[in-house]
């Protein structure tokens, strides 16, 4: 059984009387101990998907099961005790840390909210998690602004992990960090996964990071998963025209690398109302793409693609 199992999930926003379907029928699973990467460009719905799975945004329809339990329809009160098991690491740790609280208080609060341990035990847990994320014990007495960007992300990670969740959703956790700090945080996330047996849903626009960090990768375009495969397959043999365009656009840090022009027209917009959402930018679209919405189709070996040209 998967730790996380999402089925036909929809999330809609209403903006000035117009309904926008940000997540449009997404199904995915994350197995225990697995890291699933979710890539796509801005506006594709990847962050909304992450927030919907954690019920920070309400789904319009569909199912979200964590360790077998349906949470899509639970009220916030019934949901509260289950939040222990599913936590989030945000892109901007500073924006998500209360500047008036010491790091010790920030880390102890989740434990208090969930009624865990005595005061003494909670303090011990705070010190334990600080050590695990590579911060000194005296960090507990300091405030978020006293730390650098990379250290703040360590605090953000500590706060997500202090409750010992099984599922951690990381939303662009290294995107705001300098390159030399990115490697530190990625190594830390790998070590924590190994030590604490975590599962990650890792959301990022950075394909290089996802390639390094994910076991399995989902590619999202305008609210839909258009391709999914294990990490080696996706980079060796990308099939969806959008995935191909996305991969070819990543600048390789090697001047001798022969770069192909990006085979894709225009820019992401709201997409056409019928058929395949990608067809207006697609270099290989046919008449059928305008009429019929492509479904995810298994090419074998769990490599799934939603494209009529590959059926």
């Amino acid at each position: 059984m998967s730790l996380l199992s999402v089925d036909n999930l929809h999330t809609r926003y209403v903006s000035r009387g117009r309904t926008v379907t940000a997540v449009d029928g997404v199904s995915l699973t994350v197995a225990a101990g697995e890291t699933v990467g979710l890539v796509g460009e801005s506006g594709c719905g990847k962050s909304t998907l992450g927030k919907t799975i954690l019920r920070l945004v309400d789904p319009a329809e569909g199912s979200i099961r964590i360790a077998g339990q349906e949470i899509a329809t639970l009220g916030q009160r019934a949901l509260a005790p289950l939040r222990r098991n599913m936590q989030m690491v945000f892109q901007d740790p500073y924006g998500s840390l209360n500047p008036r609280q010491t790091v010790g208080t920030l880390l102890e609060t989740p434990l208090k909210v969930h009624g865990m341990g005595s005061r003494r035990e909670r303090r011990a847990q705070v010190l334990d998690i600080l050590a695990r994320v590579g911060l000194p014990p005296d960090a507990a007495a300091r405030y978020p602004h006293e730390f650098s960007g990379g250290q703040r992300q360590r605090i953000g990670i500590a706060r997500a992990l202090v409750l010992k969740p099984q599922l951690v959703i990381c939303d662009e956790p290294v995107s705001a960090l300098d390159l030399s700090i990115q490697a530190q945080i990625l190594n830390l996330l790998v070590a924590l996964k190994r030590d604490l047996g975590l599962s990650y849903l890792f959301i990022s626009h950075d394909l290089s990071v996802v390639r390094y960090f994910a076991d399995r990768v989902l590619v999202m375009y305008l609210g839909r998963i258009v391709e999914s495969a294990d990490h080696a397959t996706l980079w060796r043999d990308p099939r969806h025209p959008y995935t191909r365009a996305l991969l070819s656009a990543v600048p390789v840090a090697d001047p001798t690398y022969p770069r192909a022009p990006v085979a894709m027209r225009g820019e992401v917009s709201s997409g056409p109302a019928t058929g395949c959402r990608f067809r207006t930018r697609c270099p290989i679209a046919i008449d059928r793409c305008a009429v019929e919405d492509p479904m995810l189709n298994d090419l074998g070996g769990q490599h799934r693609v939603a494209c009529h040209r590959l059926e």
Binding site: A183, Y212, F213, A232, A253, P255, R259, M264
Partner: protein, 329 residues
């Protein structure tokens, strides 16, 4: 030997509280793309602003010379600067929305540049603006001339900024993180556009970026900055084949994109320990506190930029000491 179009020498920039750019020297030759690369706070953007003499309040050029096209921009009079900016030397920034006037049609903003610098009439400026919009890939340019910035997507706004920047056929275009706010597919399109305009118009580009992939794919030469100093300078091929400064080596090793095959299950990423904040109180080499090959002498004085081979310069006494250094003359 070709003469440089831009020669920056010993440029030192300070705020009242601290000096943020120390003795920066580099050159840009006609028609080339030079990348200025480094992490946030390394001084690359403020260097670019200093070239345009557009420093934020409080910041001052303390020392140094910026020779551009025969003019020393550090001492040039405001009137001279106004004639240079937007004509022979132009600038595009990371966030095109904040550099465009939100209440003026975009075509008019492009036309304004040419009317100011070339004194051409309204109708001619409009005609030229439409041509420029077509040149940068805005479809239906005639109609879009009258659209406002908010009608355009981020990538399209950056194209409009580029049209404005190249309107007067500049000799040098400074592009400060021009694609950092854009998606990766749009980034490739915009940088390809800049590159083809560079060739067509014969201009040089000073490309400021934090992204080594962008440097490798779109630059001819690279200048690496760390904590306000130039630490390495080279053509891109020798640089990526064998970066010489320990910081540059560390950056490439830490980059997930460099070894495309790397996966967390098989290889741990190399880290650069600590953070750039450690450079603040350093008297010697700013990278010494994080450097894996430092020796005691690194802490004594900041290392000069020396040429290992004529075009490959590095500011590291350990590297310079272990490699044959031809006499610089």
């Amino acid at each position: 030997m070709m003469y440089p179009l831009l020669r920056v020498e010993d440029l030192t920039i300070g705020f009242p509280a601290a000096t943020v750019v120390h003795e920066v020297s580099f050159e840009v030759f006609p028609g080339e793309t030079m990348a200025l690369v480094g992490e946030s706070g390394c001084g690359k953007s403020i260097t670019a602003f200093a070239l345009m003499r557009l420093l934020p309040p409080g910041a001052r050029i303390l020392r140094g010379e910026v020779m551009f096209d025969g003019i020393n921009l550090v001492t040039a009079a405001p009137r001279t600067l106004r004639d240079v900016r937007g004509r022979t030397l132009s600038l595009i920034l990371q966030e095109p929305m904040t550099s465009l006037n939100p209440v003026l049609p975009i075509g008019m903003q492009i036309a304004e540049v040419m009317r100011r610098h070339e004194g051409i009439g309204k109708a001619a400026a409009r005609r030229r603006s439409v041509e420029l919009l077509e040149l940068v890939g805005v479809t239906d340019a005639q109609r879009r001339y009258d659209d406002f910035p908010h009608h355009f997507s981020g990538g399209m706004r950056q194209r409009v900024m580029i049209a404005m920047a190249v309107a007067c056929n500049p000799k040098l275009l400074i592009a400060d993180e021009p694609t950092t706010a854009l998606d990766v597919t749009i980034q490739a399109q915009v940088l390809d556009l800049l590159d083809s305009l560079r060739r067509q118009l014969g201009m040089a580009v000073l490309l400021i970026t934090h992204d080594l992939g962008v440097v490798a794919q779109w630059a001819d030469r690279v200048t690496v900055m760390y904590a306000g100093r130039v630490v390495e300078q080279a053509p891109v091929r020798p640089f990526f084949a064998s970066p010489r400064h320990p910081y540059a080596r560390g950056l490439l090793d830490a980059s997930v994109g460099h070894d495309g095959e790397a996966h967390y299950t098989t290889r741990r990423l190399n880290e650069i320990p600590g953070s750039v904040a450690s450079a603040a109180f350093e008297h010697g080499c700013p990278f010494a506190p994080r450097c894996p090959v430092r020796i005691d002498a690194c802490r004594l004085s900041s290392p000069p930029l020396v040429a290992l081979v004529p075009e490959h310069r590095v500011a590291c006494i350990v590297t310079a000491g272990t490699e044959h250094v031809p006499a610089v003359g």
